[in-house]
Symmetry: D2
Subunit: 304 residues, 4 copies
């Protein structure tokens, strides 16, 4: 695995020039577009890592998986799915028209901004701080890394430029999808997006999700049904508007973030964490998707 | 005219039972659904009034006409129309999908909520208070009534239940349509919606607009081109989603509000103010529309 | 008037270079983009004409006014408006999404393709030929020109390239908006679009519509209420997606066609016909709109 | 397996009363809503069947899987995916607005009507008959049943009531998505929808797809990459607007049809065919979905 990972990472690194770092906030734009790290951790704990795997980055939309899991841990699924749908969206990740034109007015799924903000309403905690700490605590547990925290500069930038998300939140408030305070939910949302870690941390989280919620030593952190639900939603809607294409080419439940990270979970086999901040037009890591494709083809990882 | 007005008002009053008062805030819901007042003021100053013409009510969306006029007085038209379109909208008055799916991302016209909020950005004044006072001052001048003010209870209720408008405003902020502070613009917007007056005040305002911006005594309050622009937009989009039907049946530039008011302007002839808070499904006064239809047919008022 | 018309036509002719002839069928594309003719006929019969007023062209969407009038002559208005709305559309003239997303599923108005095809269902006649002849007969009567006919080459081209209209028609068939045979309605629709005449013919038609349906000699061709309805719909939706802007700048009930024609009706004053096939981005004659603006400003023609 | 299948089928049969047979054509409506048959065929050929497994029914939308496979067999994938997307659609299966409002104008995926009609353009054959026979031939091969044919009465009914599909096809013709004759493609499309078989035939087809395109004896009928692509698309979009929910609850690549059939494929394990024509609000078999849920839970079939 180590050899495969090194070889493919090296071979695919030049693709970085086809992408660009996220530009909507300065902190993301200044990332090194040539950075490329990857880590694979199997469910038995075996670990391979390559390249810039020590580099820390904000997980951005990958946090949606963690918030969704907290949401399902803290609130009965029935209640959650009354407010949040799980169907895929062909529209952009921050589309508001979808909220209005679809009959249910429900956010289409927990992997788009509207859905993730609505999830935050179901995460335990009365304040933004408490909700954030709830998600951070789970993240630290799954990653086995109590040092994980958020990047305050990125958090502040996101909050400052977050008018589109504010619009989504107030819309959902007006239709009764969310009942909490908009500022509380958004604050918590922006803060979990700014959670900072390495691709090794992501791989560690992925390994627990691959193991149906259990660590290599057998300890259960998340009940299996919740893990399976999260993996399903990742498989269907985790890669923005190219989720379908990615499912055909890679076929592994994954979630990408505009910070350049990808969290991938091969059920019963392994967790994969990748960091390569040059993004394609959909907002996912160019090198990350290419590496997932190579690993999937060579190791037969597709679940389909 | 007095006789005609009395006769038609009496004949049409029973229609009130086909409508309902607005229910989204308590202050509007508790209005007397049987109230029905009307006033006609010709451009020469002749006045006829009938029924509950002394009743005060909040003008709600009728304020959009006044804000739009202020906006054109305070900012060059070219600049205004770069941000606000003047095409009609078949969608609901508070639709957000329109903002997203139309190529320009501009609010469709100044008579829908999004457009009216955007107008407020172009009204003179740095604070909500200043912008409100700007519109209030024009209103007092046009109505020749320095006692006109806003209803604080209604303003507070609207602000409290205004999440949909907040969503619209943050959306426009995110796309650069508005540049001012969302809270400032909304505060001013909610406050002008709560401007309170009688239908006689409305008729007085209408008379000035009918007279191309001049009072009966010849004093110019608003330049004629701005008045014509306002009348055109009223004719095309003033009656929510039934603007087209109303144009065929009545054919008079008008604007209705969910407080039960209608402001109608017959160019070069008269201003008409009506108050009758039982609303139809589109949010306009049932008796008001019926009375406008009767007056238009009998006096040949249609501009088309 | 003759002098004014000559002067303005000459002054505005250079604007033609800012537009382009329609390109979707060869017959329209080969029109001379510099051609520019105009004719004004007052309700008393006085006539002024200038430039290429003898040039024949196909009226295209201007036929929608004539079909709509036939539709109202042949079918009770109540029945028509159960199937066709009269609200404006901010979307493109051939949008199909509007049919699907608006609650009523009704075409938004008779001036867009879907509405005009639906109108044809209400025009008297069992076959395409009969329906076409019905509209052609009215056209000849209003224009006082029994020689008016259609351009067979244009008709065939339109029919051949009419898949978008076929899609609209089958959609309306599937939702019950139209009940007749799709091919019959489309054939009649494409044929009236290919009606060929001069701008003098258009002005003559306009003069009758300006005179509430009566000719200069007082003969009634169309009842006044139907004429008023047609003028209202023209004023609100006659100029494609710039109807609102045109209403502010010109303010005269008008309908344009991609053949380069404009039919304008100033109530109780005059009919205006223009031909100048260089089109702007919305599909209306560049020189035609400019000339209407000049005439409206100088003669005070705006109805608003 | 046989025991499990009998037990669950019997236990779930009463759910039929919660659904209704399809009503848009008479032939489907007259199906017995209490019919319920199921068949499981493992990749090694082991077969279990229960209930009304000898009942023949038309496969309707299940044919979309077969047409898609033919399309990929007959045309390079690159060419296919230039015209047909593979993203999920939250809109109804026959939505046309999606075609218009999404930037690409591509049908969202091959499992909705628009996509399936577009697929037919890429299936070998010049005539409707040839295209139909191409899909029928593959179907007979996969099901190992040369007696499979289509139901002429259902085909004629569908074609007669197919205006919505005609609208979709002409729309795609107008945007260049399809290049063939609309009537040819629709005829072939309606005909494959009317392919008639038993749930045992479906299970047999499913077993081949489960075996990566090979029969139990090892013969390859379809290359593995095409089979995987088909399974992926089924997993993401096979169950109309409840594909996401079904993925969470069942997690098996499946396709349902309004004839009451479900084709399910558990990779490397088994094919499942179900027939139970009482449908839920989305158009899928009520008992079929319930049975799939039970089998998935008890046998651990979810791929996620």
């Amino acid at each position: 695995m180590q050899e495969l990972l090194d070889r493919e990472r090296t071979a695919l690194a030049p693709l970085a020039k086809e992408g660009k770092t996220a530009s909507y906030i300065p902190a993301l734009q200044k990332a090194n577009p040539r950075a490329f790290g990857a880590c694979v951790i199997e469910t038995d704990g075996t670990c391979a890592k390559s390249g810039d795997y020590r580099e820390r980055f904000t997980i951005q939309s990958i946090s949606k998986v963690l918030s969704f899991i907290c949401c399902l841990l803290d609130t009965p699924a029935k209640q959650v799915f009354e407010k949040i749908s799980v169907e895929s969206s062909p529209a952009a990740f921050n589309a508001i028209a979808d909220l209005e034109t679809h009959e249910t007015k429900k956010p289409l799924n927990p992997m788009i901004n509207a859905g993730a903000i609505a999830c935050m309403d179901f995460v335990a905690g009365d304040t933004a701080e408490e909700k954030f700490e709830r998600v951070q605590a789970l993240t630290r547990t799954l990653a086995k890394n109590p040092a994980i925290g958020h990047n305050e500069e990125v958090f502040r930038s996101e909050r400052q430029s977050g008018d589109r998300n504010r619009s989504l939140a107030y819309y959902m408030k007006s239709t009764g999808i969310i009942t909490g305070e908009v500022d509380t939910l958004l604050d918590a949302y922006f803060r979990v997006c700014a959670l900072e870690m390495t691709c090794e941390d992501l791989a560690q989280i992925g390994a627990v999700l691959a193991g149906d919620g259990k660590s290599a030593s057998g300890e259960e952190f998340v009940p299996a049904p919740i893990v399976k639900t999260a993996r399903t939603v990742m498989a269907l809607c985790g890669m923005y508007n190219e989720s379908g294409r990615y499912a055909i080419q890679v076929g592994v439940p994954s979630k990408s973030g505009v910070g350049g990270g990808i969290l991938a979970v091969v059920p019963n086999k392994m967790g994969i964490g990748i960091f390569a901040p040059a993004l394609n037009e959909y907002g996912s890591s160019v090198c990350g998707i290419a590496l997932m494709g190579a690993l999937s083809r060579q190791l037969g990882l597709s679940v389909f």
